[in-house]
Structures are given as C-alpha cells and as structure tokens.
C-alpha cells in the first residue's frame, strides 16, 4: 500500500564517515550523471551534503517557475521540463545543499530515490555506503542512539572530530 508521506530521511553519522564519496557516485550514476550530493571541505573533514527534504522547503517557496515542488508524499523534487536554471532555489536553500552548477540546463536536486523507497528499498546513497555512516530512518529515532544531532541530519559523538 502506498504510504501517505515518506517520513524517513537520510541521516549521516559523522563518527563513521570515511569520506570515500561512494554516496556521490551511486547517486550520480542513478540520476543520469547529475552531481546531486556535494561535499563541504572543512579541511579536517569532507562532509557529504545531502538534501534534508525539509517539511517547509525554501527551494520550493523560492522557485518562480513551479519547477521545485513537494509531491503528495512530501518529497521535494524538481521538474526537469519546468526548471530554467535561474538559481533562485540555490540561493533559497539555507543549508547550501543545491549547487549552482547547471547540469543539462537544470539544477540537480535529490528526490530521495522515491521510486526505490516505494519499492521498500533504501535510497542509493544509503545502500551503497561502505562504512555504514548513512542510514535511512525517522529523525526522531536519532535521540535513542545517544549521538549528537547537528542541524537535524548530521550526527556523531563529536561530529567534526573522530578519535
């Protein structure tokens, strides 16, 4: 049975991330060579920046062409045909997830691998993760793991220091 909404999100445990960028390669290939996952270089660590799928997404609010939209399962997505790559969503996203590097005249955007999730699988980035740093779960469950939660999606005992 199709769920009413997809409540699960991609959660990153920085205690386990080895910065291999396998999540990026799986996502890139699965989304026809679009660089949807970016990496923030803090010199100490390269943090994968994965869309949070906000409940009230600024990328959707800022899009002048209705190319960014929230579907019936509350997943924020981008319509390839409507996107004019104006970059409004890139500037609207408060987390720096979207990149202004235009690929095929559109802004690459995470769709939470919705088709896979509806088949009962996990998003590509989570299933490929070789170190077990990425998981697919409900955000509320993070509190049970005794990990620190950093700006809602990144966790770890000490997210920027791993020894």
């Amino acid at each position: 049975m199709k769920p009413e909404t997809i409540e699960k999100r991609v959660i990153l445990d920085m205690d386990l991330c080895v910065e291999c960028r396998s999540c990026g390669s799986a996502c890139f290939y699965g989304h026809k060579n679009q660089p949807i996952i970016n990496y923030a270089d803090t010199e100490k660590v390269k943090v994968p920046i994965i869309c949070r799928q906000c409940k009230k997404p600024a990328c959707v609010d800022s899009c002048p062409n209705d190319a960014m939209y929230q579907d019936e399962l509350t997943v924020s997505k981008r319509s390839l045909t409507k996107c004019t790559a104006c970059g409004s969503c890139v500037r609207g996203c408060p987390f720096g997830v979207l990149t202004d590097e235009m690929i095929k005249h559109a802004v690459p955007k995470c769709d939470l691998c919705e088709a896979r999730v509806l088949e009962g699988k996990e998003p590509r980035c989570v299933q490929t993760c070789p170190s077990g740093a990425l998981s697919f779960g409900e955000v509320g469950t993070v509190e049970d793991t005794k990990l620190l939660l950093l700006s809602t999606r990144t966790t770890g005992h000490h997210p920027l220091k791993r020894r």
Partner: protein, 562 residues
C-alpha cells in the same frame, strides 16, 4: 543494450571482492543495486564498484580485433590470432599477463608458455606494491583475516590509508569500536589520510620510515630474531620524527592486545620496502594471536601471486614480440622505463576491454572480456578463494584472456592449454626466504635537497590510475579530473602558491602538472600527489625493478618557469 545472465556477482576491482548486484532499469539501462542478503559487514559498495554497470555498457568497449599501422584495419578475431601465431613462431615472445584477470586466464597463459618449448616467456604483472607486500606476508606465514575475523579482534593496527582506497574495510573496524569504544586503533602512515583521523594512536611518520616503527612495535610485542631490522623505540621515534612517548604508547597498545588485527595498504610512492613492511606486519599479528588483511590494488593479486610463484614466472628481457593481456603497461610504468622497453619490441599486441595508453602504441589490438563477463576464480586479500559469476555476454568478439590464449595455442598446434586452474595452488602461500628480506636492513631515510620537497603518493578513493578502466567513467572525470598536489601552508607561501593554482612538479624521473591544495595538516617539506594519475607516477621510479619510495621534487607555480 547489455542483457544480464545473472544479477549477483562479486566486484573484481580490488581485493575485498564486495558483493554486487546489477539490475535493468525500466528505461533500458543497467544500474548498480545493493545486496541486503549478505552479512552486514559485507554490505556496501565503494565508488569504483558503482561504476560496474557503466563499464559493462561503455560506448568505447573494444569489441573487435584491429591491425594498427599507417591505417587501422578491423579484422576478424580468427584472422588476427592466425597472424599472431605466425609471428610468435618466428620470434622470441613475451606474454605479459595482467594479475587482475581471473585465475583460469592466468593459468591458461602460463600453460601456453610452459608448452611452447621456450618460444614464449610468461610474466604475471602485479602492481609492485601488491607483489612486495604479498612477498612479506608469505615470508611471515601470518594468518589472513576475513572482515568477520577482524571484527573479533581487540586491537587494530593499520599500515597506510586503507579506508581511503578500500572503504568497505572500515565496517569491521567500526563494528569493533562500536562494541568497545576504547579499542586501540594504531594507524601508521606518512600522510594524514582518511584512516589516521579515526586513530587512537596516529603515528604520522617521515616518509619511508614505516619499517623502523613496525620493528619497534614488533620488538615490544615479543617478536625476536629480527636481525638488522631490529629497532628500539627511541631510535625508531627519532628516525621517524615521532615523539617517543607517542610511539611507546602505541607499542604498549599493540603489545597489550590479545588478538591483533592488522590491515596493510601498500603504496609504491610512500615506501621502498613493502616486503619488509608486510613481513613485520605479519610477524606482529602472529605474535599477538591475530592475522592480516591485505588491502591490495588488484582484485586477484593474491591468486596471481600464488600462480606466478608456483610457475616460476618472471619478466627478464622482453622478447621481440610482446603480447600484453589486460595490463596498461604504458600507464603503470614511468615514461623512461616504457621508452626503454618499447624500443626493443618489434610487435606489440595488446588485449584490452577499453582504450588505454598501451593500445595507442600497439600493432595489434585484441578485444577482451571484463572479469564480470568472463567469470572465474579470484583470491581475495583475506585469502578466500571465490567464484565470480559471469554477469553478461561480452560484446562483439570480446572473449576472456584464457580463451584468446587457447585459440593462439590451437593456431600454433599446441595441445593441453585450457582455461582451468588448480585450486590447491590458489589456496597455498609459497615459501619465501625470511632471511633475504631481513638482511637487506632498513632503507636509508629519504631526504630532499635544499629547495626541494619529498613527494609521496596520496591514496585516492576515486582513481586507481589514469589508464585504468574506471577512468573511462563519468564520475571520476567529474569528481577528480586532475591530479592534486597537497602541500603545507608554510611551504606554499614562499613559492606564492595558493589552493587551486596549477603547479609544475619536476623530479629526476619526469615532470607533471597538478592542482595545488594548500593545507595546515600536511607535514612541512612533504608534498602528497594523487597516486591515480600517470603524470604523477612519472615523478617516481615506477618500474619492474622495484626502485620505489618517496622522491625529491622541485615545485613551482605553472607559468613561472624560467
């Protein structure tokens, strides 16, 4: 369109042989999928494994034989083989077999050489670092550990940046530390890589001094009879640039282990003596009732090593005709070495799956199947002898290397060459003389002259090397299009180099350009260059004579050459 015969296989792109699944998307293309029916520690695929689907369906696949001269001419494979048989019978021939091919293919090529009455000499190519570390491990007689075995240890010693090149091996280490957060993790490396940031005892040493530190750890762990390799903690600390207290603490952590797991990731541009490092790692592991997992570049390195040693295969002087099965020799050897080698060759025959630098120099090109298509037996870095299922038919006339060899043998009138392997050879480590490895002693500590830097190779999770198969994929081209030279901010400042600048690096062996990355964490006087690019490998004495290790380089901002 590739039609799948099977969905599940094992990745052959490195020695971990991760479980892999491919699926056909409704839109008609292949895509990687992920197995959830395997143990948790074996799940996940690194970025190279994710490229399997793209490789199988790659538009540049070589699917027919070609004669390359002034005009390139496509010919039926049978015609190419008949012509090759005539050439081989009329000249001295060397058969260079890639050690990453399935064991059956290597065995067939070795059988052809053995049955050719001296006309053909066979050699198995392995990356020097893989071959040397295996030689050391064989000499140590250490037990090889699976990921499950590793997760049962109570302390881990890692040599090199294993998490960068073999990310899946981080899982058992994480599992172990999840069970006990105080589990000692000693990481010995000459660069602050992706593994050392997890260490409880990070030992960041001067390039090329790893064996001294391991000898000190071995001494404290109760390993005796090391002869001239013996090294006290104080001397090892002073020669490797480590604080004595830090090394003593790491030695105590290793000595205190009841079962020690050791991971070794060899890199040719970091040390010159990976056989000694392999030996010492194995001896420490055995002394602490543990074992070793070798993180090797080649997926079937251990199988190829065992087959080659059992057959006594070596490369002496190349013959007038050289048949290269799968290896991109021009990319993996330094330019000088290649020119020297290629000068003496009258006919170069190269079999490959995708275009390589070697194919550009070849007189005859033969189409080769990927391991995923050929299927066959492989030995992982944990010593597991596994069968890799054939996923799909190879395109056009592409066939497994063993099949090419069998057809050549048939055309030459030789009998008894088959694509079969003796499994007992794959399960047995060869006898290696420990004394010969020990008696060489530690290499001299590499030093750069005034005004120069010491260059070492940095592990790269994206590329294995320029001519490699994955370099034809879109992700590496997007993510890591150029080599990177990482240097310390205090070294870069006086040279006017900033992050993002193009720099020229010159060594006695060659020169290359890279994008500068200026950081505070890099040791002063040391520059780390991407190991995955041929232009960076040219800086090193990268050849079959095993002259390896860090080299002195001069660096300047590109465009400021005088």
């Amino acid at each position: 369109m590739v039609s799948l015969k099977s969905k599940d296989t094992r990745c052959s792109l490195c020695s971990l042989a991760c479980f892999l699944r491919l699926s056909e998307s409704p839109h008609g293309y292949l895509e990687p999928d992920y197995r959830t029916d395997v143990p948790e520690l074996r799940r996940g695929v690194c970025n190279r494994g994710n490229m399997t689907a793209e490789l199988l369906a790659h538009i540049r696949r070589i699917d027919a034989a070609k004669f390359c001269g002034e005009e390139t001419r496509q010919v039926p494979l049978e015609e190419a083989i008949r012509s090759l048989a005539g050439t081989v019978q009329a000249s001295r021939t060397t058969l260079l077999i890639d050690g990453n091919l399935p064991a059956e293919d290597i065995a067939a090529a070795l059988a052809l050489a053995a049955g050719s009455h001296g006309k053909i000499a066979a050699s198995v190519y392995l990356p020097t670092e893989d071959e040397m570390v295996l030689e050391g491990l064989a000499a140590s007689r250490a037990r090889l550990l699976t990921p499950e075995n590793l997760a049962e240890c109570d302390a881990i010693l890692i040599v090199g940046d294993a998490f960068a090149t073999h990310p899946v091996i981080s899982k058992p280490v994480h599992a172990l530390r999840k069970r006990n957060v105080r589990t000692p993790l000693v990481v010995l490396d000459s660069l602050p890589g992706r593994t050392s940031i997890f260490a409880t005892h990070p030992l960041l040493v001067r390039p090329g001094t790893e064996s001294r530190v391991l000898a000190a750890l071995a001494g404290k762990s109760g390993v005796r009879d090391l002869g001239v390799l013996s090294c006290e903690v104080g001397r090892a600390a002073s020669e490797s640039g480590l604080p004595e207290g830090a090394l003593a603490a790491a030695a105590a952590a290793v000595a205190g282990a009841k079962k020690l797991g050791v991971l070794v990731r060899a890199e040719i541009g970091k040390a010159a003596n990976w056989d000694q490092i392999g030996l010492l790692s194995g001896l420490i592991a055995s002394a602490k009732a543990g074992g070793v997992t070798a993180c090797l570049t080649y997926g079937n390195a251990l199988g190829a090593y065992r087959l080659a040693r059992a057959a006594g295969a070596r490369l002496d002087q190349p013959g007038e005709t050289v048949i290269v099965l799968g290896t991109d020799v021009v990319s993996v050897l330094s330019r000088q070495e290649c020119n020297r080698t290629l000068d003496g060759i009258r006919t170069l025959v190269a079999a490959a799956q995708l275009p390589t630098l070697t194919l550009g120099a070849a007189d005859v090109v033969l189409p080769l199947a990927f391991n995923f298509e050929a299927g066959g037996t492989t030995v992982t870095g944990s010593g597991e002898v596994i069968t890799v299922e054939s996923l799909a038919e190879a395109p056009g006339e592409a066939v497994p290397a063993g099949e090419l060899v069998m057809r050549l043998a048939h055309a030459m009138g030789l009998r008894g060459v088959e694509r079969k392997v003796d499994r007992s050879v794959l399960e047995t480590m060869p006898e290696v003389d420990v004394r010969a490895i020990i008696e060489r002693g530690h290499p001299q500590v590499a030093k750069a002259p005034e005004g120069a830097f010491l260059a070492v190779t940095a592990s790269d999770a994206i590329h294995f090397h320029t001519g490699g198969r994955t370099s034809h994929c879109e992700w590496p081209k997007y993510m890591a299009p150029n080599p990177v030279a990482t240097m310390n901010v205090d070294d870069a400042g006086p040279l006017g180099i900033k992050s993002g600048d193009e720099v020229l690096l010159v060594s006695n062996e060659g020169e290359g350009r890279a994008t500068a990355e200026v950081v505070k964490t890099q040791a002063a006087g040391v520059v780390a260059v991407s190991s995955g690019f041929a232009e960076m490998r040219r800086l090193f004495p990268w050849n079959m004579a095993r002259r390896t290790g860090p080299v002195a380089v001069k660096i300047q901002k590109a465009g400021s050459e005088t």
